[in-house]
Amino acid sequence: MAETTDTASAPRTGILEWFSGTIGRFLVSLFVPIVTFIVLWQGFIFLRDSDAPKLVIVLVAIVWGVGGVALLYVVTNWLVERMSPMWRDMLQPFVFVGPAIAILTWYLALPTVRTLWISLHNADSTQFVGLQNYVAVFTERQMFIAFRNNLLWILFGATLTVVLGLLIAILADRSRFETLAKSLIFMPMAISMVGAGVIWNFVYEVKGVNDPQIGLLNAIWVALGGQPQAWTALLQPWNNLFLIVILIWMQTGFAMVLFSAAIKGIPGEIIEAARVDGANEIQVFFRLIIPYIMGTIITVTTTVIIFTLKIFDVVWVMTGGQFGTHVIATQFYRQYFTNRNFGFGSAIAVVLLLAVIPVMIYNLKQFREREVF
């Protein structure tokens, strides 16, 4: 960058001298962005319409997407640095924050206002209906089931994740294969919920009474003398628990890692002193360790609650919301994309936002106190 500026602005002979004049500077300033724009636009057209081999498209897409953004910063910054110091100091910050503010305005701020607006209108957004959609959200039976299920998710999912995470953190903390054990339990966190859904659908697979059971759970169940069960379909609303197990399976590793770090932060002398004073392990756990890591417990709990409030993929893959397993986020998707009821869908999104905000604010406050970075 620095070299480019030097060549263009330093006085030289001939054409370069002319270029250093005001008109030349103006033309160059105009020329460079135009060329940049044309290059980027051609890349876009190529990506949209080309039938080139897939590998070429991949490379062009990545170079164009990643390089394009970098190029935009370099070029606009180059332009600004050619201006007089006063203008430069005033405009340069906006070269840096401008793109972030523009994207957030387009993708989050304005859409939020629009969603609020759409939620006050009818199914195809042609007529103002006031709060009618919100009344429907809180009175329709389908929505009632969704709210109840989200509550089940929070109650069982969050509680068991925290309890199991804490238990494993304490057990693994004292074992020789701590690292390996933690990796194994943490691993589900890295995979997609769709993948986890397939894994667990296979565990819950059910076959006829006389066929061999290929699902792990039914095989165990039948071996113990039970009848094969369709775990995620029957026994409503308790079938939801079999979906919640997946969340626990995925999130316990996260809880465990946080708890482990917190427990290792407890000064050894405190625990030592308590033991010398005759406290047994249970007392040490409840009277010392738990109060000491309370902040982390709250963080984990609120994080899992936010996560479960917005849960979508697991339910979508496992049951698609059938058998009374809909949650708020799947209802949102169904209302908007299946029923094409834009007003209702938007109202659900707003309700989801209202449910998340208080937990999120609490979580962020905790996060700031913990100072992860």
């Binding site: 924050v97 629009r114 494993i168 030592e272």
Partner: protein, 295 residues
């Protein structure tokens, strides 16, 4: 440091020996239970279609070296006939720019918020942090309408920008926390030496921020790769454009009993995140700790 919490007190020798065995067994059992579902998927993905249907996957453990019971046919079929190979490439096209673009934009913004003076700085920063609480469902519908009218719907550019928008508030916040803590003397000294903001940013700040950038990168990469909702809404489920997760979820719906396809497909979709996980576990943990507030 890690042994301090488990220092035994005096006179605990017998109980210590006893509880060590119990502890070890308990940890082993938990690890076993945790791994079993994934193991079932992994083993089944290499078994012939008819075998999967006829017997449980654990039966192969009796004779693991009978090589006729293993096959790669499931992978071949799911990659070619069911189009998962294509969607693997799509996922890469979506994920790499959708990770790099938000980090670039967020790093520039974080630097400006931390080290530059401009009109409205505090207000803009507060607004950006406030947007962290926004569930992306709030934005999906209007953004989709915008895309439909501007022809961006179903394009990779469209989904990159969508992921950028949804990931940006958290990225700015995390990188700001890091960049603002860099020593002031360092920045001032560079300024005195005549370095421009752009040079300070690219030459000093970006290099020092590598750990924070890496942590967020790993987090965002896995988030985008594993995402279903955004991919479903903006790219759909057709094999030519969709990501792996969307296609896999479509397969679950349409071929729910074809376990030879589902198991191999699911495992394929996990390969990249698992490699990232094991290779960059340290950054991953920090990214998860920091980014856990995002859905």
């Amino acid at each position: 440091m890690n042994t301090s919490a488990s220092l035994p007190g005096t006179g605990y020798a017998l109980r210590k020996a006893l509880s060590k065995t119990t502890l070890r067994t308990a940890v082993l059992i938990i690890c076993f239970v945790w791994t079993l579902p994934s193991l079932g998927l992994f083993i089944s993905s290499f078994r012939p279609e008819n075998d999967i249907r006829a017997s449980g996957w654990w039966t192969v453990l009796e004779t693991p070296f009978e090589f006729t019971q293993w096959t790669l046919a499931n992978y071949e079929k799911v990659i070619t006939a069911n189009g998962l190979g294509q969607t693997f490439i799509n996922s890469l096209i979506v994920t790499i720019p959708a990770t790099v673009i938000p980090i670039t934009i967020a790093a520039f913004a974080a630097y400006a918020f931390a080290w530059m003076d401009f009109w409205g700085r505090d207000v803009f920063f507060a607004l950006i942090v406030g947007l962290i609480v926004m569930p992306l469902q709030m934005a999906l519908i209007p953004v989709l309408r915008l895309y439909t009218s501007s022809g961006l719907n179903g394009t990779f550019l469209g989904i990159w920008l969508a992921h950028t928008g949804f990931g940006l508030p958290l990225a700015v916040y995390l990188l700001y926390n890091f960049i603002a803590q860099l020593p002031r003397d360092l920045i001032e000294a560079a300024k005195v030496d005549g370095a421009s903001h752009f040079q300070i940013f690219t030459g000093i700040v970006l290099r020092l921020s590598t750990p924070a950038v890496a942590s967020f990168a790993v987090f965002q990469f896995l988030w985008v790769w594993n995402d279903l909702l955004v991919a479903l809404v903006f790219l759909g489920t057709s094999p030519s454009a969709s990501t792996m997760t969307a296609r896999l979820s479509e397969l679950v719906g349409s071929r729910g009993q074809d376990w030879h396809l589902l198991t191999s497909g699911a495992f394929l979709s996990m390969v990249v995140p698992l490699v990232v996980f094991f290779a960059l576990q340290r950054y991953f943990v920090r990214g998860i700790l920091a980014g856990s507030v995002k859905e």
